[in-house]
């Protein structure tokens, strides 16, 4: 924790303005917006795997996309080594992107259906001039072997592959650029468990061999637990808890983390919970509750939660944004 992080995210915010009618605009009504990211702080250490979990719409993808500059954040700062990421332009940005690669969730739409795997890889190599044309073929073979695809795969189109194989292609394409950091957004969510394990193994192996730093965005808690060194839990655009993996799963601090862990079905038929872990729907992202966003579904909510937004506090190795922990007299729920 003392080493200088590879990537440091400070106060990152991003809102998507909701469509607003002309009359409303003429009447001067305030513009409503989806607050996809709200004052997010995170740091990633070199070589570590940081898991990011949270319910649908909590901003995981937006965070990932802001980090690779697919989306422009509204506020905040992202420091990558010495680079001020959010201010990079043109060639500098492309050079940064080469080092920080993203792998996408959807194995079906993330590959151009009209290019062969070989063409895709060759393009990546030649655009960034990573290999002279003569050596590209060899490098392509190397990459395919690296991700466990047969050499003939270079001549095939995406539709000729299974979902798991396509994800391998996506990984190969990202690796072609020899990045330091991979951001994997729901990399295996679309895959069957039996295939999931293959891709996860690949990721583990690559990380080992290439010393990659990985941001692993997922909603499968079991997977995140298996892969990550640390885990960040998000809720409605905010990071509510960051902790070392074992710590988080053994003793979740934030009530939302607790609920999330309780809701995940365990594989033991003997241990069945009776009551729902959490009640109520996710609030509309257009209308995030004041104070603590989770208070509307939180069994422990009290007055202060509505009035004041909790700030991240260190609680036994974890960072938790919850008033239960910020007030000295509060009792830690079990």
């Amino acid at each position: 924790m003392t080493a200088r992080p590879l990537m440091d995210v400070r106060g990152l915010s991003k809102a998507f303005p909701a469509p607003q009618g002309l009359l409303a605009r003429l009447r001067g009504e305030p513009r409503r917006a989806v607050q996809a990211l709200s004052d997010v702080h995170l740091s990633v250490q070199r070589g570590e795997t940081l898991g990011i979990v949270g319910e649908s719409g909590c901003g995981k993808s937006t965070l990932a996309r802001c980090l690779v500059r697919l989306q422009d954040a509204d506020r905040g700062e992202v420091q990558y080594e010495d680079l001020d990421v959010l201010r990079l332009r043109g060639p500098d940005l492309r050079r940064y992107n080469r080092r920080v690669q993203m792998i996408f969730q959807d194995p079906y739409s993330s590959l151009n259906p009209r290019m062969t795997v070989g063409q895709m890889l060759r393009e990546a190599l030649s655009v960034h001039r990573l290999r002279p044309p003569g050596e590209q073929a060899a490098r392509i073979q190397e990459l395919l072997t690296l991700v466990g695809l047969p050499p003939q795969a270079a001549g095939r189109y995406p539709h000729e592959f299974s979902g798991g194989q396509r994800q391998r292609v996506g990984i190969a394409r990202a690796l072609a650029l020899e990045p330091d950091c991979l951001i994997a957004d729901e990399l295996v969510s679309a895959l069957d468990v039996s295939v999931q394990a293959q891709v996860v193994n690949l990721l583990l192996e690559l990380q080992e061999r290439l010393g990659l730093t990985v941001l692993f965005v997922a909603h499968d808690l079991r997977l995140v637990r298996h892969l990550s060194h640390r885990v960040a839990v998000m809720y409605l655009g905010r990071v509510v808890e960051v902790a070392p993996t074992e710590e988080l799963f053994r003793a979740p601090k934030h009530p939302y983390t607790q609920a999330l862990l309780a809701a995940a079905p365990t594989l033991d038929p003997a241990r069945r919970a009776d009551a729902p872990a959490i009640t109520g729907e996710l609030p509309s992202p257009l209308n995030v509750p004041s104070g603590c966003a989770f208070r509307t579904r939180c069994p422990h909510a009290f007055d202060r939660c509505a009035a004041e937004r909790p700030l991240p506090t260190d609680v036994g190795g974890a960072q938790v944004a919850c008033h239960l922990y910020s007030a000295p007299d509060s009792a830690v729920p079990g």
């Binding site: 996309r65 690779v68 697919l70 940005l93 492309r94 050079r95 992107n97 080469r98 690669q101 993203m102 996408f104 969730q105 959807d106 079906y108 739409s109 993330s110 590959l111 151009n112 259906p113 009209r114 290019m115 393009e123 990546a124 655009v127 960034h128 466990g148 695809l149 047969p150 003939q152 795969a153 001549g155 095939r156 189109y157 995406p158 539709h159 000729e160 592959f161 299974s162 979902g163 798991g164 194989q165 996506g170 394409r173 990202a174 650029l177 293959q198």
Partner: protein
């Protein structure tokens, strides 16, 4: 693609090569027929398409004139054969510019969005709400009638459809993850647009192109009715149908055979369009 390729260990069921449906094959076959007629009219046609024969005026179909003769004694079969080139040319030239221009513009404004999109949108509005006939007649009146001017007039308007189609498709495609991947991979916008988006976004435009070709021929025929189409003695099918309308009661063959030729061309383009839609659909 190598047929010898066997699925390696963790391989998916190899998707079968999708053979073009019979529609496309028939369509291409008919097109080949039309192209032969267009390329070798001299060899195929028994008579000159323009030479009068005062001794053979308004003769019904016979062995010598299988499609009969017209009011100048010209052989209708020969005229239909010679007309193929003209009508295919109409089909091509009424759509070529709109297709290229509209598609590229649609790709660019769909991708760039903002003011370029808004500006082109307004111009498209103007073109669409402007009565087409006024425009056509105006252009024809300025440049004189004839096919070139038909092309100019149609081009001035026709690009809008392609622009719309491609723009809409690019808007959809640019949200697809492969397009975003291109950005993360550090590709330039031009590369993403031309290498990645356009090939995937152009299918509806190509399919529409086929419909548009038959519409182009029909438009030529309609303008022929108003006297603004092809010039005599050019044997153009639409004009031939229009010329034959006074003889419908007494010499049905004059308008019927070119009418059949028009239908044949329409069916050809439609079959190819349907077939292409099938073949060009990206496989997933």
């Amino acid at each position: 693609m190598t047929a010898a390729l066997t699925p390696a260990a963790p391989a998916a069921p190899r998707a079968r090569r999708r053979w073009p449906k019979p529609t496309l094959l028939i369509g291409l076959l008919l097109l080949a027929l039309l192209l032969i007629a267009a390329l070798f009219p001299t060899q195929l046609a028994p008579f000159s398409p323009t030479e009068f024969d005062y001794n053979a005026i308004l003769q019904g179909p016979t062995a010598k004139h299988p499609f009969g003769t017209d009011n100048f004694g010209r052989d209708v079969l020969s005229r239909v054969i010679y007309g193929t080139r003209i009508d295919l040319q109409i089909a091509l030239f009424t759509t070529l510019f709109p297709f290229i221009f509209g598609t590229l513009l649609g790709a660019v404004t769909g991708y760039a969005g903002r003011w370029s999109d808004a500006l082109v949108g307004r111009v498209a509005d103007l073109v669409v709400v402007f009565p087409f006939l006024v425009l056509v007649i105006a252009i024809v009146a300025v440049l004189g009638p004839g096919l070139t001017n038909l092309y100019v007039a149609v081009s001035a308007v026709g690009w809008v459809s392609y622009w719309r189609l491609t723009r809409g498709e690019v808007l959809t495609q640019k949200k697809a993850e492969y397009a975003q991947a291109g950005r993360v991979l550090g590709y330039s916008p031009a590369r993403i647009l031309l290498r990645h988006l356009l090939p995937n976004a152009v299918t509806p435009a190509i399919v529409y192109l086929m419909t548009d070709m038959s519409l182009g021929i029909l438009l030529g025929a309609s303008l022929g009715y108003l006297g603004l189409g092809a010039q005599p003695p050019t044997p153009e099918w639409g004009v031939m149908v229009a010329d034959g309308k006074n003889f419908m009661a007494t010499a049905w063959w004059i308008s019927t055979f070119p009418g059949l030729a028009l239908t044949l061309a329409g069916v050809t383009f439609s079959l190819i369009g349907d077939g292409l839609a099938d073949v060009l659909r990206p496989r997933t």
